[in-house]
């Protein structure tokens, strides 16, 4: 599935497969999105990937909508829709059937064991997301400082994250970063 195939099919296949491996939610799948979109398929540059992440954080809705932006950049509106459905559809169907199965069967301890096993995995994936995005976004020392300050403020205070994004945007506009 490389450049000679239909980009829509390529999007559907890429995100459809990815969704089934997206343990820990959308932000944990960012390294894989980056690997496929930037390194394998060459759909976008590192910088564009960082931009798209920023836009997805800035807009309302679930974090998974970063795939809508990637899809749009590959194949316009159709690409946006196909990427979104491919990333959300297969696991939605899976979730539907698994939830019916579990509410019917007696209380098993396997869900708890699997959940306990997946927690460190998904945190490790989130860490990789942080690293890959920091390498893509923080081009300067000032940028890295903004990232660090935003991380500390978001961790230590209950400040609405939108203010931090806004502050970053203002610093960028002022040419500090």
């Amino acid at each position: 599935m490389n450049s000679d195939t239909n980009p829509i099919l390529s999007l559907a296949w890429t995100f459809g497969v990815m969704s089934l491996f997206a343990v820990g939610g959308a932000n944990a799948a960012i390294p894989e999105m980056h690997r496929l979109a930037v390194d394998v398929q060459h759909w976008m540059t590192d910088k564009q990937f960082a931009d798209v992440f920023a836009i997805s954080q800035l807009s309302p809705g679930p974090n998974v909508l970063i795939v809508t932006l990637i899809g749009y950049s590959v194949a316009g509106v159709a690409g946006a829709l196909v990427a979104t459905l491919a990333m959300c559809g297969p696991t939605a169907v899976l979730a539907y059937y698994v939830s019916r199965l579990i509410t019917r069967s007696s209380h098993s301890r396997w869900p708890a064991i699997i959940q306990a096993a997946l927690v460190p995995l998904s945190i490790g994936l989130m860490g990789a997301s942080g690293l890959i995005l920091a390498l893509a976004a923080d081009r300067t020392w000032a940028g890295a400082v903004v990232t660090a300050v935003a991380a500390v403020l978001a961790f230590a205070t209950r400040l609405n994250p939108l203010w931090l994004l806004l502050a970053g945007g203002c610093l960028g506009f002022a040419g500090v970063i």
Binding site: M18, F21, A22, V23, G25, A26, N27, P31, E32, D51, F53, I55, Q57, G61, P62, N63, V64, L69, Y72, V77, A80, C88, P90, T91, A92, A95, Y96, S99, I102, R109, P111, I113, I114, Q115, A117, L118, P120, L121, I123, G124, L125, G130, L133, A137, G143, V146, T147, V149, A150, A151, V152, L162, L164, L165, G168, G169, C170, G172, V176, I177
Partner: protein, 203 residues
């Protein structure tokens, strides 16, 4: 699948405080999830809990936690899974579709418009600088969420968990190995470890 099976699936074993008064209809599901989604900047989960548990009282906090735990260990976007599981409990497959469409439809329209604007104006210098600043801050937010998730492991001194975490970080973040390959090794290993730890704790 029988489209009108939802009452069977509602667990409701021991909840005197606030059993759902009337199960929500399809339009109510769509509107409720659209509202949560549009309110949710940087994650919808908080708003989903607020809407489902506090505002509409469609589920108790415990039911919500159990449902979310299920959606968290399944692959895929957690809140999307939650919308499907939640919608289907009350209204079967049509309910699942209504909640799914409410959660994703309106924000997808907004994001698509933003994508079009970015494609057209993304090269303007002022906009590039603004986006660069926003993305630096956005990465900081993600890193803070990461540390919030790590704190319980550190407080519990869960050494094995931290080793697994570090191994996944190295494999994906530094070595840039493909995700499916890493998970096919890491998940069985991690589940086996969790299983033996429980068994030893039990005996």
């Amino acid at each position: 699948m029988p489209p009108d099976s939802p009452p069977v699936a509602v667990p409701a074993p021991d909840l005197p405080e606030s059993a759902p008064s009337t199960p929500p209809g399809l339009i109510a599901l769509f509107v409720a999830f659209a509202k949560m989604s549009l309110a949710g900047f940087g994650g919808v989960l908080v708003w989903a809990r607020r809407g489902i548990v506090d505002q509409h009282r469609w589920m108790t906090a415990n039911e919500f936690n159990e449902t979310f735990a299920l959606c968290h260990f399944l692959p895929g976007p957690n809140v999307v899974n939650l919308s499907v599981v939640f919608g289907s409990r009350f209204r079967g497959i049509p309910g699942a579709l209504a909640a799914f469409a409410g959660l994703l439809g309106p924000p997808v329209v907004i994001v698509t418009v933003l994508a079009a604007l970015y494609a057209r104006y993304g090269e303007i210098d002022a906009l590039r600088r603004i986006l660069a600043g926003i993305s630096c801050a956005a990465v900081g937010l993600l890193i803070s969420a990461l540390f919030r998730m790590m704190m319980p492991l550190i407080e519990r001194r869960d050494l094995i968990g931290l080793v697994i975490l570090a191994a996944v970080f190295v494999a994906i973040g530094l070595l840039r190995l493909p995700l499916p390959a890493v998970l096919l090794v890491a998940i069985p290993l991690s589940v086996a470890i969790a299983f033996f730890i429980r068994r030893r704790a039990a005996s």
